[in-house]
Amino acid sequence: MSSRSNPYRCYDRRYFLELVPIVVATLVGVALALTMPRTPAVRLALAGIGGGVMGWCIVVTVAAIRRLDELQQRIHLIAIAIAFAATGVVASMRRFFELLGVTEYPSGVGLWLFMFIVWNVALVVLHRRYR
């Protein structure tokens, strides 16, 4: 167990090695999308690759968090809860901002990115609280 104080200790070498299949699958998906005609079979394969990438990403991330000790897991749980709530607020306020004329608004991948950023910012803040 590392004794260094690091809020991002879940992102270790093993985590990044486990992400390699995601990079490979994404490259295969991109190659398929660019070179093959969009037949139903290719579309199905692309959807399968997309689903598989997301599923593997979840499995790898959960496994990385489970390797942490109980305080680190607690910090992650609170950070994820904060990110989830913040993303929910942002998503539900979309219509409100549209009425105000704001057209550039995070949605889809943008929302996932927003959630990831809030999660990691919350990690740093919470980590300092328990330091």
Partner: protein
């Protein structure tokens, strides 16, 4: 929850990192427990008590001292 982890650790002349290694947790977790910022789970509390050869209620005081 108050505890005597810091006292017991210094009696053994262990650093927080050394105690963390013995318990399989990070130095930050040991520090948070010692400062009362974090209450350990029951398995970890038992592990701490056994490591110091004490009963769990001799190390941790839920009422605060």
């Amino acid at each position: 929850m108050k505890n005597d982890v810091r006292i017991l650790r210094t009696e053994k002349r262990w650093s927080q990192a050394e105690l963390g290694d013995e318990l399989g947790v990070s130095r930050q977790t040991v520090n948070a427990i010692e400062n009362g910022k974090y209450d350990p789970s029951l398995p970890l509390a038992f592990k701490i008590a056994r490591l110091f050869g004490r009963r769990i209620e001799d190390v941790f005081d839920p009422g605060g001292r």
